[in-house]
Amino acid sequence: MSLAMIVAIIKPHKLEEVKEALLANGVEGMTITEVRGFGRQRGKTENFRGSEYTIDFVPKLKVEVIVPDTDVDKIVSVVSEAAKTGKIGDGKVWSVGVDRLLRVRTGETGTDAI
């Protein structure tokens, strides 16, 4: 069975919801990274000492999970529903194929290592 990694860029405050949704759908592990980025509707105005300035790179969280190929569609929609607010900056979800997976402690490979 082949594997896929689902990557989601989400708003930081959505982390708890996305985590609960993933756990409820059979995912047992995930990695998060703090990232910055922008999409089509870029730019946000902040201010310092009375002057405004526009920032391009907005803080987000990247969530990475590894799932079997067959579950990709289900997990993508689970994540996207959990992360959605309807406002700009909700993020994106995508999946990438994974060649090889190994659990360091036991040496299990493939689907057994998920």
């Binding site: 201010n47 310092f48 000492r49 009375g50 002057s51 405004e52 300035y53």
Partner: protein, 542 residues
Amino acid sequence: MNILTLRSGGDEFRPPRTVRAPKPPKQPLMQRLKDKDRQKFFIAFFVGKLVGVAAFFFLVKTIGPWIIGQAAHASGVKSQDTLGCSAVPYPNTGAVAATQAECNANLVSASNTAWVLVTAFLVFFMQAGFMMLEAGFARTREVVNILVECIVDTCLCAILFWAFGFAFMFGVGNAWIGHSFFFLNGAPATYTLTGATGVAFMAFFLFQFAFADTCSTITSGAMVGRTGFVGDLIYSFCVSGLIYPILGHWVWGPGGLISTVAKPGGTVTSWFVLHDFAGSTVVHTMGGFIALAGGIALGPRLGRKFKRDGGGLPPGHDLLAASIGGVILWFGWYGFNPGSTLSAMDAAGIGRVAANTTLAAAAAGGSAFAFVYFRIKKWDLGISINGFLGGLVAITCPCYWVNATGAIIIGLVAGIVVVFGVDLIEWLRIDDPIGAVAVHGFAGIWGTWSLGLFATGKYGTAVGLLMPGTKTGSVKFFIAQVGGNVIIAVGAFASAFAIMKVIAYFKMLRISEEGELEGIDIHEHGSPAYHPEAAYMGKGLT
């Protein structure tokens, strides 16, 4: 080798040993001892060493007593609070002072000295406030540089002020510069020239050192992130050792150019005198304008886009440090202003000064904060910090001589002055990360001039132009405030600008472009402020 490039673990990373040519066998010892060339060299070398040691002892014998000869006045002098001279014999001879003046000079008032010392400690604590404020408003890559500058600056200032700064500023000399008390030699038990309050001489020295340290720390404000450390040392030397003491002498020194203090045994003869209670002009306007000179001479940090070109002020990296630093400065100001009474006996004066200080700071913080809300519809932290600091700077000159209403008005205006000052500096394309020029320079100018408007006239000055009462001498008083302040501002700016340009000419003022892009912390100090990598221990990244 930079710590950051050291690798952890295993032999495979160690560079191969270089193989050297084998050394020739040594001559046997007896043969070496008989070698004529070696003997000649040894004699020359040894005699040279003896000459060096002799020269050192000679210097110690001749110059040493002069440098360390001044007494610390720590023991033996009886202290009391009333001027009953016959009860206070000299410690060594038991004789009694011949004149009241001589007696006064040796009478140390314990309470006044304790007061001045406590306030000096508070003013010194402002250094911690400055470090936090400046570091908080700068970027992470500049933090170590700011902290080192503040610390080294303090150390340098103390030594220079002891050696000749205090002498230039508070020594007896002429209208331009003082020339007694070098290395604090020949100092009497108390410093009486500003009025005999019986403050022990060394305590007064400490208090004034703390003020000098404040001024020289302000000057680094507009120069963060791009000043080479050698250049920083040189201009720090000039500010603490030359500009501050000499210009300070004009305002606070005995017989100074525009000073309210006369030479001992004389009277004040200048046409106008500048009243500056705790240093809006001497410390803050001077510091702000030296910072301005530095900011102009240096140019902006790389990549800096100004508001008029579509960019803006880069945000500070740590507003927590900046705000706490600002409030520490406010706390320290309770030493700065009330301590300048130099007397614990003037309790009404101390209370008035402390209250005025508080009200002006509060009013300024509020007015800056409210004004900026209408501009950007947000409640801005940075401007409220700069606002109350501006209020504190402004009230520093008039605090003794105004009443509470005057203090509040002065503060309200100071907050607005700071907002517009920050805008002006940004518009002039001067990169001032801390806002030092606006907060210290411009608010200091407003504070000094405001004394001419709001003085009550009840505490030894003429009545201010906007206050009720007979205005004899009020116009001259106001002109003196304005004129004196302008003299100091122009003098500070011109001398500092000249010095900076000279340092820049020798390429010591600004660091190289790659150094600045890499980050001045790594370039000048070899270490980042945050997350220094502990990898060289081989057991993890942090």
